[in-house]
Symmetry: C2
Subunit: 268 residues, 2 copies
Amino acid sequence: MLCASLTGNNSMRISLIGAGRVATHLAQAFKVKHQIIDIYSRSFDKTEQLAQQVNASACAQIEEMQSDVDLLIIAVSDQSIATVIQELTGHFPNCLIVHTSGSTHLNVLAQYHERVGVFYPLQTFSLERAVDWNATPLFVEAKQHPDLEILQVLAEQFSQRVYCYDSAQRLSLHLAAVFACNFTNYCYDIAKQVVDAEQVDFSLLYPLILETAQKATQNDPMQMQTGPAMRGDQNIMSMHTHMLEHADRQDLSQVYALMSDQILKRHH
Amino acid sequence: MLCASLTGNNSMRISLIGAGRVATHLAQAFKVKHQIIDIYSRSFDKTEQLAQQVNASACAQIEEMQSDVDLLIIAVSDQSIATVIQELTGHFPNCLIVHTSGSTHLNVLAQYHERVGVFYPLQTFSLERAVDWNATPLFVEAKQHPDLEILQVLAEQFSQRVYCYDSAQRLSLHLAAVFACNFTNYCYDIAKQVVDAEQVDFSLLYPLILETAQKATQNDPMQMQTGPAMRGDQNIMSMHTHMLEHADRQDLSQVYALMSDQILKRHH
């Protein structure tokens, strides 16, 4: 459900825990309309680097951070969120604290603090590439309704696609993203290994890769399925399995067999 | 290796066996500079439909086809190629006969006929979508050198990316394409099933799908890998497996486990 639009132009005082890819892109996006106060992360080198980029102070300890900010963003690895929130709450008693994870339930924060929320951008981040924020879906969630309104206003300042989803919906989206992004990338990685072994240029597959992705965003991917498994072509599948095993790539042969078997069952 | 460019503007007389996706797109592309004489396929309805589109005659039997064409294109399913060539050769004794398959060795034709070759477009075809021929890599191969030159000239009339590859290279490219195209599409299909089950809109994943594909065509996909398996995040992986099994989707859980296991091993 798309959130109702709210207005608000007040500049907020924002601090961040984390200095990795998500923290970096968020800090750069927020600093356009807001003030980034403090950055803290496990690596002081990375902290200093990011702090300099966004005119913030680099903190070597949580205790050095200013307590009276409006918003504290936890942009750390998923498995560190529970530890970080426990270290923070005493130092930020009145602050709205959010995490940025697609796969962490709001309850992980809510059991330690009253004013908590989620600010999750659904995108794959690289430090080398700029983010098209306007096209990036942003998911906000909060324990208390006034905090949800604050997060909506913030989110709508840099994306046209802001959604209020509960944790169950967000988690299913993140799981889907693992298939649609991480596993497809691994399929590209395998394809490159296959052609590299025959001194064939991987770039020959670029048009096919891009067209396949385009098609999946314009039609139901199930209807767009092609290939030997879809056609039930056992001869080609046997030949491919033989090629992979002949090259001593039992790992790739396993992926080939499982995916082909499931495509076959889904379409016959 | 890129073929040397040849010139030639003579219109050729071309017939096709097959009236499916590849046959249709090829016939439409060839008819711009050449004459399509006859079409024959197993389904006379489809034969008639395609013949009408390209001003050709629809044949109900191979015997009805004119024997004196310059080029005969076999664009049928891979497993039918061996049968079709045996039915054809007596009727087309002097004609250059090519197949359009990425995964069929030239020998499948060469054992029955002297003038044989391959004309393989590396792209995923849908009847609904136009083909960007200029960006589509075309692979040509022939038993005899003069026939290879004919196929090169033809191919260069509608693509800027024409390659002379032998059967082993073409087969590895086709195997790679199964991973990069068919299996990524199945990953999209799974992603859609996961979000559909929670009434979450699949279109939310479009930016991620397109960005992931773009990244793989601009960098080594291995370097672009992200996600819980890449990070070695066992908590998230356990949670995802639990979600899939709780939803009684052991099939998807199997894909999740195998892909995650291999990504983990490749990056740790």
